[in-house]
């Protein structure tokens, strides 16, 4: 019998899934579990065949842990990104291109939608229907190559700028916090500044450097930047923005952050892994409230999932397809995710990633001036501190997650992470004596070469 080329959700799961919670969107609409099931089993396989690939090397395969509702709902939200963002724009919400690893509270408080480079990529991907995996990879590589030409340098998250410059993604503003984590964002911002398409406004939310949160002037300066930002977005959204709007938004996002922290602590405390690596990553990331382009939707999925994880941990339930005592890997560095499926085949699991966890695990104070509070939190991101500061925080996460080893991954051309990797890994080895491995990724996308996987497999064997 020929092997099915596309993954199919088992039909016997339908009843169980349809009894799960609806997703509530920011505009007041909702998707019932039945709507989601219909989309994921009838619509999306034809519209986005690449997502249903069974190819062994594809890192972006759908989670097979089908009894965890978030596994399906998270992918539903990713695959409906284009339709939802377009609808929100039609309803007057401006779309703002931001940076990875930053919070998005102020953008939503002012009526906008903030998308990080990866999410802009997901939105762009959703505009091309009917593509198989290889066709989708070719499309995305082509866009990236055009961006490399435009920027004159092979940087990491460049495709988003190219989409904006070409006008094929209706982004309304480019306004990232210019954090320290990423050198490529600076190249991208410069390329946008000098690009021919001047219609999309550029606004830098200037991030002061070096022990920022300890300096009152820096906090006030950044708070002023945030006020400029919300005022500009609100103008575009055709509304006013008040301090109360930001306070409410911070409370909402803090709920997401708290749920993600709680979920992580539950996950890390479990005797057997309650989810696979892919679902764990999605759950933690939802706490950043950005990943779906709709914080309310992320929050409803996260609330429901948190209860599932709590139950699984309490009853000692292990995720489908995961071994009992896998090697526990913690991934450091930005913009590269190892192929989690291959890692699990090799007997390991990814227990955490420092990248977005830095902003997700930083709560914002809720009493007092919301701009000052938000600015203070943003300037406290552990990932953006000195290497010593970041390393100390990483060691803490490694202890909490009971990691057996650290994989530090970064893209070729990433000046920041390449400079930090060795120092951070040396600190980890010195402080808690766990093995580390640094890999520079020269490839695009999630279909990693055998050379990269070989290194990761050998590392897992060494830890085993």
């Amino acid at each position: 019998m020929a092997k099915r080329e596309q993954y199919e959700y088992p039909s016997e799961l339908r009843e169980e899934f349809e009894a799960t919670d609806d997703i509530h969107f920011r505009d007041g609409s909702r998707a019932t579990a039945a709507d989601i099931w219909h989309f994921m089993t009838e619509v999306a396989p034809k519209k986005y065949p690449f997502a249903y690939t069974q190819k062994k090397y594809a890192g972006g395969r759908l989670s097979r842990d089908i009894h965890l509702p978030s596994a399906i709902k998270h992918n539903y939200l990713l695959l409906t990104m284009n339709d939802r963002i377009n609808k929100s724009r039609e309803n007057g919400a401006p779309v703002i291109f931001v940076q990875g690893g930053q919070s998005v509270d102020p953008y939503y408080a002012a009526g906008g939608i903030a998308l990080r480079p990866a999410s802009v990529g997901i939105w762009a991907r959703g505009r091309h229907e009917g593509l198989g995996l290889n066709e989708e990879v070719v499309r995305s590589h082509k866009q990236k190559e055009k961006a490399n030409h435009a920027i004159s340098f092979e940087v990491c998250q460049s495709a988003g700028y190219e989409h904006i410059q070409e006008g094929d993604l209706p982004v309304d503003m480019v306004a990232p916090y210019t954090c320290l984590r990423c050198s490529d964002i600076s190249y991208g911002v410069e390329a946008h500044r000098h690009g021919p398409n001047k219609a999309v406004k550029l606004m830098n939310i200037d991030y002061p450097m070096r022990h920022q949160a300890d300096k009152p002037w820096a906090v006030t300066y950044f708070a002023q930047n945030l006020r400029r930002l919300t005022s500009e977005i609100a103008k575009r959204a055709g509304r006013e923005v008040t301090d109360e709007d930001l306070s409410k938004e911070i409370k909402l996002h803090n709920e997401g952050r708290r749920l993600a922290i709680d979920t992580a602590e539950l996950w890390w405390s479990a005797d057997v892994p309650p989810t696979n690596s892919v679902d764990r990553r999605a759950l933690y990331q939802m706490g950043g409230m950005e990943v779906h382009g709709d914080p309310s939707a992320s929050l409803t999925v996260l609330r429901e999932s948190n209860a599932y994880i709590r139950d699984r941990v309490k009853r000692g339930i292990k995720a489908d397809g995961v071994i009992d005592k896998p090697i526990r890997l913690f991934v450091c560095g930005s913009c590269v995710s190892p192929n989690a499926f291959r890692i699990e085949e090799a007997g390991a699991i990814i227990v955490g990633q420092d990248n977005h966890w830095s902003d997700i695990s930083t709560l914002v104070k809720e009493e007092g001036d919301p701009y000052q509070n938000l600015a203070h939190a943003i300037l406290s991101y552990p990932y953006e501190q000195s290497v010593e500061g970041r390393a100390a925080w990483t060691v803490e996460q490694l202890k909490k997650s009971r990691a057996d080893g650290v994989l530090f991954l970064y893209k070729w051309g990433c000046n920041t992470q390449s400079a930090i990797a060795r120092m951070l890994c040396d600190t980890v080895k010195r402080e808690i004596a766990i093995p580390t491995m640094i890999i520079e990724d020269h490839e695009g996308g999630s279909e990693q070469s055998e050379q990269m996987l070989n290194r990761v497999n050998a590392f897992i064997e060494m830890l085993g």
């Binding site: 055998e450 070989n454 050998a458 064997e461 060494m462």
Partner: protein, 269 residues
């Protein structure tokens, strides 16, 4: 009544050669080495069949097979796949239990591996997407000088001086070599420069993992005497003389693992 004999095989399919080693209990029984083709399954089987023929065995006589090397991902004949890093560690430890550092230079990559007294990997580093220090690099250089790959090292050792090379990129080094020849430099002296440039380059890998005695040199490039000498000079070490063809070490380690996996799985006592 005849006593059942237990045979364990390791098959290492690399980018340039496929190798196999069959162990009978704890002793090397037969080996096979063939050039790799595009079809890695076929290459692995050819190497395995060669060892089986040499030993007068058939595949069914084997208790367990471990696949390694880049071809391990498609090795339907193997019971288990293990990376070549782990296998080189086990292979070197099997031959020389005092070895603590391995330099493995194969067809497409180069590794520095630190191991413990049991042959377990403690740390390792690999070249990053660059052919410098690999068999493929030396193959290109042999092509430039129109000499056999196996004669390259001896030619380098006959040098009267060392011509410095500024690049270890295969493509740029090839152009640089052609320019040096045009300038009148002697091939042996250029090759001496090439071998030392590669040795210096791979010494960076050891800066990451450290060096402890004894040091072992495995992989196809280990047969190159010029490279061995250049590495000894660059790292200031003496390399242990291998008891078997160093290109077979990965396959040997795979066979050693086949023996221990099958014992753990209760296939023999």
């Amino acid at each position: 009544m005849s006593i059942k004999r237990n045979f364990f095989a390791g098959v290492d399919v690399g980018s340039l050669a496929a190798k196999s080693v069959i162990l009978e209990d704890g002793e090397i029984f037969a080996t096979g080495l063939v050039p790799s083709g595009v079809d890695s399954v076929e290459s692995g089987l050819k190497a395995l069949n060669l060892a089986l023929e040499t030993g007068g065995l058939i595949q069914e006589d084997l208790t367990y097979i471990v696949g390694t090397g880049y071809g391990r991902v498609s090795a339907p004949y193997a019971n288990k796949a293990v990376t070549e890093i782990t296998c080189h560690a086990k292979g070197a430890n099997y031959l020389h239990p005092s070895v603590r550092t391995i330099i493995d230079m194969g067809g497409q990559d180069c590794k520095a591996i630190r191991i413990d007294q049991d042959g377990a990997v403690v740390d390792f580093a690999m070249n990053d997407k660059c052919a410098a220090g690999t068999g493929r690099f030396l193959e290109v250089m042999a092509g430039v000088f129109k000499v056999k790959l196996e004669d390259l090292g001896a030619l380098a050792l006959s040098a009267t001086e060392l011509v410095p090379m500024s690049s270890t990129c295969t493509v740029f080094a090839e152009s640089e070599t052609i320019s040096l020849v045009a300038r009148g430099e002697k091939p042996a002296n250029i090759l001496n420069g090439i071998h030392h440039a590669i040795a210096n380059r791979i010494s960076g890998l050891f800066a990451r993992v450290g060096i402890a005695s004894d040091v072992f040199f495995s992989g196809g490039v280990a047969k190159n005497t010029g490279m061995k000498t250049a590495i000894e000079e660059a790292l200031k070490v003496t390399i242990v003389k291998p008891e078997i063809d160093p290109q077979l070490i990965g396959a040997l380690g795979a066979a050693v693992l086949a023996r221990s996996f099958s014992k753990k799985e209760g296939l023999w006592a």
